[in-house]
């Protein structure tokens, strides 16, 4: 039995960045970004009296003529091709509703999944009535954004072997803006576990599958117990992710791995203590800077 009780402290975020001074690329709602009419208005901005003005607090990003403001924390704003991890919230006729931390529930159409029995199977009326056999309320899936509806809701698909129903593992929810966009969001980490970094901030940690035994279109999940050592790695990774997210460090395979290595001198359950968290994140950032430099 262990109970750690303490008085609260004013928390400070750890930072190693040198440019701690005023950063001009940070804006707050109502700030005029430019009055030059040659720019295009992106997310997080609006035009007021021909001036491009910020509507959220965050960092200004410029791609060619397009100006966006990226808020520090927001709901997931999905784009076609994004990898997401989501949870089924409702089974409807011909489609599932999926919670993906977007502003509207995402949709997975029955026609956008691979049903057991091969690619070219016709979706019959019976499939509609047995949709619960494939995916049930509460189930987790990994998927890709196929298209975005006019109202902003996302349409997902799982028509690739790497997507589908998720089995045993742990879900960690962090802010979508902390996920770094990369070529691949599926990683087998060398520490012995695998990770899916959903663009929507849902991160899935699971034991690295032994051999590729993907069958039945990904609707089969093994319920065999997972070894204690694998569990420990996954729990450590989970706590590391939470530490990174608490200190607003960008999450990608390298940062997770460095954080994991930095945490090894502590017990898994101690990682979430504020002072340990600070220490680990500090070490992680040092490593990241060394690697960059």
């Amino acid at each position: 039995m262990a109970a750690d009780m303490r008085l609260p402290n004013i928390r400070k975020l750890v930072s190693l960045s040198l440019s701690a001074g005023d950063r001009r690329d940070l804006v707050v709602p109502g700030d005029v970004i430019t009055s030059d009419s040659g720019f295009m208005r992106g997310h997080g901005t609006y035009v007021d009296e021909e001036k491009l003005t910020a509507s959220v607090a965050g960092e200004v990003q410029r791609v060619d003529k397009l100006i966006c403001v990226r808020p520090l924390k927001t709901r997931f704003n999905g784009e076609v091709g994004d990898v997401v991890v989501g949870r089924i919230t409702e089974v409807q006729q011909k489609r599932w509703k999926v919670e993906t931390n977007s502003r509207l529930d995402s949709i997975l159409l029955l026609s956008s999944v691979n049903l057991p029995g091969g690619e070219l199977r016709r979706r019959s009326a019976e499939d509609e009535l047995t949709m619960r056999e494939y995916l049930l309320e509460g189930d987790l899936i990994s998927a890709e954004v196929q298209s975005v509806f006019s109202d902003g809701a996302l349409s997902l698909h799982t028509r690739s072997l790497k997507y589908g129903k998720l089995g045993q593992g742990v879900l960690v929810q962090i802010s979508p803006s902390l996920i770094k966009r990369q070529k691949t969001h599926f990683h087998n980490l060398p520490c012995g576990a695998s990770i899916i970094l959903g663009n929507n901030g849902f991160v899935w940690l699971y034991p690295t599958p032994g051999q590729q035994d993907e069958e039945a279109g990904g609707f089969y999940t093994s319920l065999e117990p997972i070894s204690l050592s694998d569990r420990e790695v996954i729990s450590r990774l989970r706590n590391c992710l939470l530490a990174l997210s608490a200190h607003k460090v960008l999450v990608f395979d390298t940062s997770v791995l460095y954080c994991y290595e930095s945490s090894l001198q502590h017990q898994v359950k101690d990682i979430l203590k504020p002072e340990v968290m600070e220490e680990i994140v500090m070490l992680t950032q040092q490593k990241l800077i060394e690697q960059e430099g």
């Binding site: 109502g30 997080g44 520090l72 924390k73 927001t74 502003r103 607003k248 960008l250």
Partner: protein
Amino acid sequence: MSSFRCFVLCGNMAGLELLSDQGYRLDGRKASELRKVQARMGVFAQADGSAYLEQGNTKALAVVYGPHEMRGSRSRTLHDRAVINCQYSMATFSMSERKRRPHGDRKSTEMSLHLKQTFEAAVMTQLYPRSQIDIYVKILQSDGGNYSVCVNAATLAVIDAGIPMLDYVCASTVGFVDETPLADLCYAEESGGVSSLALALLPRGGQIALLQMDARLHQDNLEALMDAAMTACKGVSKVLDQVVRQHLQEASLATGD
């Protein structure tokens, strides 16, 4: 159940002057001086946005959930913009006399409606069709100007949630005593028979999001009072601006590339 102490306190107050001859108010402020504002964004991890704000002895917590899929009856869905849903409540221990219910009384329902109207004027709801944005505000400790403190706290929470707004919404409660407008009233002044006015302002453009007065005031004095309110709101907006920039600075350091 009678609260003896409350009774004692009120008794003391009746005799006091709200504005002394030297121009000082009950708590030692000048007429146009605001109370000290302290705030923090991102208090809670589970909500989309949250903020805590103290203005003098009035303390409020604001939490924002959303934008998310409509909950409950889908008939309230708007197809061209998001629905803003507000609930104002007071902790049962927030006032000197205990409240029996945290919300649901007429005053809180009215306050919820005012908050909703205020934020509908500032949040760019048209970007989120068919969604819902919940703003919940809780007064933990009440010492006057509850509406203003709620608006200011909620503004920070909305910004923390990354929801687009035209501008900050800043609010202040002002009163008129002895031909002098008083900024940012505290409870003793509010209940001391001052005609008070609450104003919510988008400071940069000077647009009014909500204006409310339910006391008697001579028409000639209205302008002076409005000016005082505008100034007070702009004063608040400076403080909020600092809080947001500080928060941005701290939080974006680590993500910055």
